[in-house]
Amino acid sequence: MASILKVDDLRGNTSAGDITITSEGGAATQSLQHGLNKCWLNFESDITTPAIRDSLNVSSLDDIGTGRYRVNYSNNFNAAKEYAGGGMTVRGGNSKGAFVALDSQGNINFATNGTSISVTRSDNTLADQDIVSMLLTGDLA
């Protein structure tokens, strides 16, 4: 019989920040909290003011130049430079492909409360794009 648990706050019993889940194949157990995506973002930047379409754990987005942005978090990460920024993608409104990097003009700002990112086209120029998305994993404070 299917079961439903109605709850607003999940906490570990032994340690509040550590709930164990069993793997899909049943061979291993891992921490739920450590594996949850802590931040994701989809925004449009090829307009006058970049606009967030949807997000998780993002308080605001700053436009710091063509193809350059700072993402500010609602809840801080545990340590600067020690979380992972995978899954950054971009879709442009032109024929050139593009990619998103964590750095911005050589200045890494990989802080607990936000990070700077840059979008570069395949012709090696910074560019604003129609759809920019990112995904962060790691430990929150």
Binding site: A2, S3, I4, L5, K6, V7, D8, L10, N13, T14, I21, T22, S23, E24, G25, A27, A28, Q30, S31, L32, H34, G35, L36, N37, A79, K81, E82, Y83, A84, G85, G86, G87, M88, F99, V100, A101, L102, D103, S104, Q105, G106, N107, I108, F110, S118, T120, S122, N124, L126, L135, T137, G138, D139
Partner: protein, 131 residues
Amino acid sequence: MASELRVDTLKDSSGNNSVGMAYVAGGSAKVWANLNGNTFGLRDSFAVSSATDLGAGDYTINFTNSMNNDDYSVSVNAGDSAKSYPRLCACGTSQDSGFATSSHGITTLRPDTLVGDDMEFVNSSVHGDLA
């Protein structure tokens, strides 16, 4: 004492915002890693047993728990604050190691030369089913 809760669906106390446990477990990252490719070493990670330096811009992330198969998804990113060419990219596979149940490879490249290049920050997240 450790406790175990068996449930199919989670909702908030109002009965809204429903999420099935399949999404909770299946949608969580099973591995993530943040490594320094310049000095080579893991800064922080989850479910990573070790990382291997295979050469310039070429790394392997080894998992603590094996994935169910090699059909999982890897998201990667890289950057370096000390280099004058910030626009570098990372790929999910390398020349020396692709996707395996116990590891995956990462290659970081200069986009202008497409030559492997070590980076200050090399990040990856793995989504898929564990064994």
